[in-house]
Amino acid sequence: MQANMLRVRICAIEQLTPDIKAFCMRAIDEKALAGFSAGSHVLVSMQHGERVMRNAYSLASSPLQLENYRIAVRIQPQSRGGSVFMHEKVRVGDSLEISPPSNLFPLDRTAMKHVLIAAGVGITPFMSYLPEIKAMGVGHELHYGYRSPRHAAFIDELRCHWGGGLHAYRGDLAQRIDPEKILDGQPLGTHVYVCGPRTLIEETIAVARGLGWPEGHVHWERFASPAPGAAFQAYCARSQREINVAAEVTLLEALEAAGIDVPNLCRGGVCGQCQTELVAGEADHRDSFLTDVDKHGKIMPCVSRARGARLVLNL
């Protein structure tokens, strides 16, 4: 177990929608869990035979109570299996190892108003936002798009807490989130937060720029889980070790399994923590962090792989 990982026990599982399950967890020694700020995520370790996978999940519970954490997991059959593991193998009473919370998607403390835009499972980080927004006492609105009422995770809770501040968009009625309509006319000091597919994020960023919003007022989080690829070899030049990276394992996971710890935070190719020097070999870059210049000598092992048979890393 890595230093300062937390051991938790699953105390409740709820099927929120046909493909999303919520997991409630308490600290295994019944102490309080670590405090966190709204927008934080935890890395959940999933032991599957000999493989250890770690996926990042947003905390969907209030930061004002630390008796339990809640996460929501959408099942993705085409992925490497983390969500499938959570849905099919985890039961109430099971224990899991999670990292302490870290936050790559916090609220801006100087904002006069927060506008939240969520699509599908992208609603999860916003479940932790409302208690903090209410404590700030500033304007807020939530725009939530989902396929159909059956697919609207947390909708009853949201209606109860947000009231008229919640704007719902039903895909089955062809209601579409329109960033232009949402952002136009917002008052000074508004910040927008968007969590959903890449197209929605890119459209919101482009609309905000066109309306003259400065960059620091647009915040986004994308749930990118690493896709599988072809198997390859990774040679660590400094420790002189040859590592096999199997098809459904990420380079980061293979390094960790071999006892080589690489700093990491998002495990989705956005935060930059796991940046590693690439000495030789051609990388298949799948991240959203490195610039084109950086891509010549660096790699993000949490998502990226090799284009050929072998990479040499400065580890």
Binding site: T110, A111, M112, L183, G185, Q186, P187, L188, G189, T190, R209, G210, L211, G212, W213, P214, E215, G216, H217
Partner: protein, 182 residues
Amino acid sequence: MDKSGHPFLMPDRYARRHVVVTDWNGHDAVSRFLALAQDTAAPVDLFRLDDAIELCGDSQTLQMQRYDDIDVLIGAVITAVRAAGMGVRVYLVGHEAFAARVSASMEACGLSRREIQCQPCGIATLQLFCVHCRKISQGNGAQRKITCPGCNRRLEVRHHYSRRLGAYLAVSTDVDAACDAS
């Protein structure tokens, strides 16, 4: 850059409205800016403190408002930026103390630093905040020691700057005596 090495103000091409606030008589900075702003699609509001000579430039196409009281000026600017909402940019041209005071008011309204540009002109003047009596007075950039007009203490101007107040902190040269007295 201008003669003192400050970069000239550039109108933000993404802005939906430009609000220019100045206490400066000179033609260069504001006129140059207005000429550049004509290339953007956004309208310009111009606010001036003082009743100095007419600016050269096409003043019929601008909204120009003049005030001889800085608090009334700031109130009018706040009304204008609030009406404009997101997409507004504020450009401050003038003495440093004036710009600092207006900038602090803009941030209190919710503008971030990215939405405010400053071009200091003239002799450097600063706002100074007396930590003992809390009065804000004006000093020039060369003065390291002043006498506070509020409490008459002899103060040393510190490097510590408060963006919220738009002022440098000034502390008694004899701190122990000052604390005993208050």
